[in-house]
Symmetry: C2
Subunit: 203 residues, 2 copies
């Protein structure tokens, strides 16, 4: 019984992964339910047994990303040196590891949709708040400041870092080594921001 429920979840996750690709290829509005169903390898009718509407799919996709993010931060916060672990995680992200090739396209779509659909803006706002909270938890642990104080003083830094990660992921690929050079600049900006947080706490 429980095994069946687990299998259901796996199936749903599989469907979401395929839908992500379809959305990345055709856009949130551009991908039709027939496209999504075909991507998942099933008929339209059956598709609606898993997700009641197209909007629900998008919500579920963002939720999955939010859960992944929470998992990443759980690992960071329970590690020996959270600040260092954070640096490494960000570095991996910027180098394109830890997120599929569709994630950049998908987040470009979500960024655009969030600017015109309040329902999606609400979801991304929750996600942003979650990331900021987690980042500030790391800062809090590294500086000895309380969570509230860390959020007050470094909230803007957190948002800035999130913006950089998203912007890097949604960058159009450009030929030549220029893209790698630019990622180095992003990485350096990240490191400087983190350094500044540590220094602000000392001073």
């Amino acid at each position: 019984m429980t095994a069946m429920i687990l299998a259901q979840d796996l199936r749903t996750a599989e469907i979401l992964a395929r839908a992500r690709t379809a959305f990345a290829e055709k856009g949130l509005d551009g991908a039709s339910m027939q496209d999504l169903a075909r991507s998942a390898g099933m008929s339209v009718g059956n598709f609606y047994r898993y997700f009641p509407s197209k909007a629900a799919m998008v919500e579920a996709l963002i939720t999955v990303d939010m859960q992944e993010m929470e998992r990443d931060f759980a690992q960071i916060l329970t590690s020996d040196d959270p600040m260092q672990r954070l640096r490494e995680t960000i570095h991996a992200r910027l180098m394109g590891q830890g997120c599929g090739p569709d994630d950049g396209r998908m987040w470009a779509e979500i960024t655009a949709a969030a600017l015109r659909k309040p329902e999606i803006a609400a979801i991304t706002a929750r996600m942003d708040a979650g990331i900021t909270q987690n980042l500030c938890a790391v800062f809090s642990q590294a500086t000895g400041l309380s969570q509230a104080e860390a959020e007050a003083r470094f909230g803007a830094h957190a948002r800035f870092m999130v913006m950089l990660v998203v912007a890097s992921a949604t960058e159009a690929p450009c030929p030549g080594p220029r893209h790698d050079e630019m990622m180095t600049l992003v990485q350096r900006t990240m490191d400087r921001t983190l350094d500044e947080i540590l220094q602000m706490a000392k001073g």
Copy 2:
């Protein structure tokens, strides 16, 4: 006769401006030709006398932005202190001046579309190349290096700065003073990047 042609151009520009708002509100795929025509205050049929297709509209909108950018750089490059003028122009942009409220939404749409439609990617690539070239022209003038040398050494810096401007414009507005604080961080990163360029040229 030429007056009529000029009036035509003005009309076309007016239509484009209205279409920009419609696209910003409903998305590139979400806005229908009926929506765009109604925004422009005319019938669908007449609308097609100005733009042969929806795709042509999008192309024209990006082209307008590219021309505006070229105008901005023309002013910068012919000013007394281009580097300082560049700093000021960027600062104004980050503070939301010099670009309408629809521009952020519109560019979020274009960023997403460029990642999945090669035709749009081609246009944005040309625009990116143009901005990079212009930025490096400023750097070239400020450092005494040749244009080619400036592009080779600071091309990545230029792309990085473009990324920051676009990312700032497409950021979701967030309540409280945190947004302004973050813009300050962006501004500081910009200034540091420009400082570094000057220093790299000296060293």
